[in-house]
Assembly symmetry: C2
Homo-oligomer: 210 residues x 2
DNA sequence: CCAAACTAACTGATTAGTCAGTTTTTTAAA
DNA sequence: TTTAAAAAACTGACTAATCAGTTAGTTTGG
């Protein structure tokens, strides 16, 4: 559970009013997320985004310095959706096994709901520059830390029989498996509904942990 | 183990001599694979590739119709490296558990050796058009089928105690985990050497299967 | 000698980001 | 409340640069 703390990447603006920045950026994000997930980041022009957001290109570039800033905002927005859903599912008063299963279920369900956006987010992370990518990956680490803590609870209470170095791997696996549901959606749905997928994954996890 | 057979995507050429095509394309691939993994596909210009390959742009475009063709050739080339290494490791005369572990080890080792290229390959798959991507994903399926067969052997001989629908997932997991070693290399090497990673993954796999 | 392979210079289309000027909103003095 | 001035937000035409792919003509090797 590495807790490296670095400061967040900040998207610059030349508009003073923070409320206005928030509102306008939400408009930009809403427009961009849709077009990006249809055509991809590179194939989308800044004019298209501005138009879809109902504002002028010049205006848009006052709320954002570069096209890449828009991508960063979009990725963070999508990531927040997932984070919120996961944290909402976490309950304190259940057994470690129930708790981690509940978390996994919530994660898989939210990823299923916004799978297009999840694909976009991970696909285009590579188009972010070093700083923005580092900042984004930190968010990713928050999610994994959360899952690691849940698994650790099970070890501490003697229910989970796994080695200490597996904790990180298993937490990471759960994250990756949720992403894979999004990425391999079309080939997986031949074999599984999301419910069946969650059930099978839950079983495998229980086998592994106990 | 879905066996959908579709024809391979063919990269067109206007050069007649097949030997020459093979030789020149190898030069293009060698040049492109290096530049792509340094700067990414989009940031690389066709002129750069041609220059690094020691040929004229015009010449290059006689061995290839579009820039995307180069990416496709590069992805296939990298994939072949992995496929060869995996098939070379497969032995018939060992127990199912030993066999799948041997396969997994070979896979993780080759991915470790060419991890930059693996990252490139999966990162840029999205930049291929529908046809080329479909063709590439078929190669991916070959790898998974191979692993599925190995797992199936263990089930059939009664050694592996897992449900039938887990076979696909576990085969896929092994593939994904090898890719994740490449993608998360820099954060994983804080915690694991490749040998340690393979050992821990082997243990987890054994727990899961038996 | 001639077909195959190669070259250099070119083109046509694209696009992220800018900037000089306009409109709207806020502030504050009368 | 009116008004004037200052600040903030917005506009859209513009540009400077880039780059995938072409082609008319030249060289090479069998």
């Amino acid at each position: 559970m590495s807790e490296t703390q670095t400061e967040e990447y900040i998207v610059a603006t030349s508009v003073k009013n923070p409320k206005r920045v928030e509102k306008r950026r939400a408009e930009i994000i809403d427009a961009a997320v849709k077009i990006f997930s249809e055509k991809g980041y590179h194939a989308t022009t800044t004019k298209e985004i501005a138009e879809a957001a109902g504002m002028n290109v010049g205006t848009m570039f006052q709320y954002v310095k570069t096209k890449q800033d828009i991508l960063y905002l979009v990725c963070c927005h999508i990531h927040s959706l997932i984070e919120k859903a996961l944290y909402a599912a976490t309950s304190e008063n259940s057994t470690p096994l129930e708790a981690i299963k509940k978390d996994m279920t919530a994660l898989f369900e939210i990823v299923d709901q916004v799978s297009d956006y999840v694909v976009l987010m991970y696909q285009e992370t590579a188009s972010l520059d070093k700083e923005a990518r580092r900042s984004f990956l930190q968010r990713e680490q928050r999610l994994r830390n959360h899952l690691e803590k849940q698994i650790q609870r099970g070890i501490d209470s003697g229910v989970f029989k796994i080695s200490q170095e597996s904790v990180f791997l298993i937490a990471d696996d759960i994250l990756v498996q949720s992403q894979m549901w999004a990425f391999r959606r079309w080939s997986l749905t031949n074999k599984f509904t999301i419910e069946k997928y969650i059930a099978t994954r839950s079983e495998l996890l229980e086998t592994l942990l106990t």
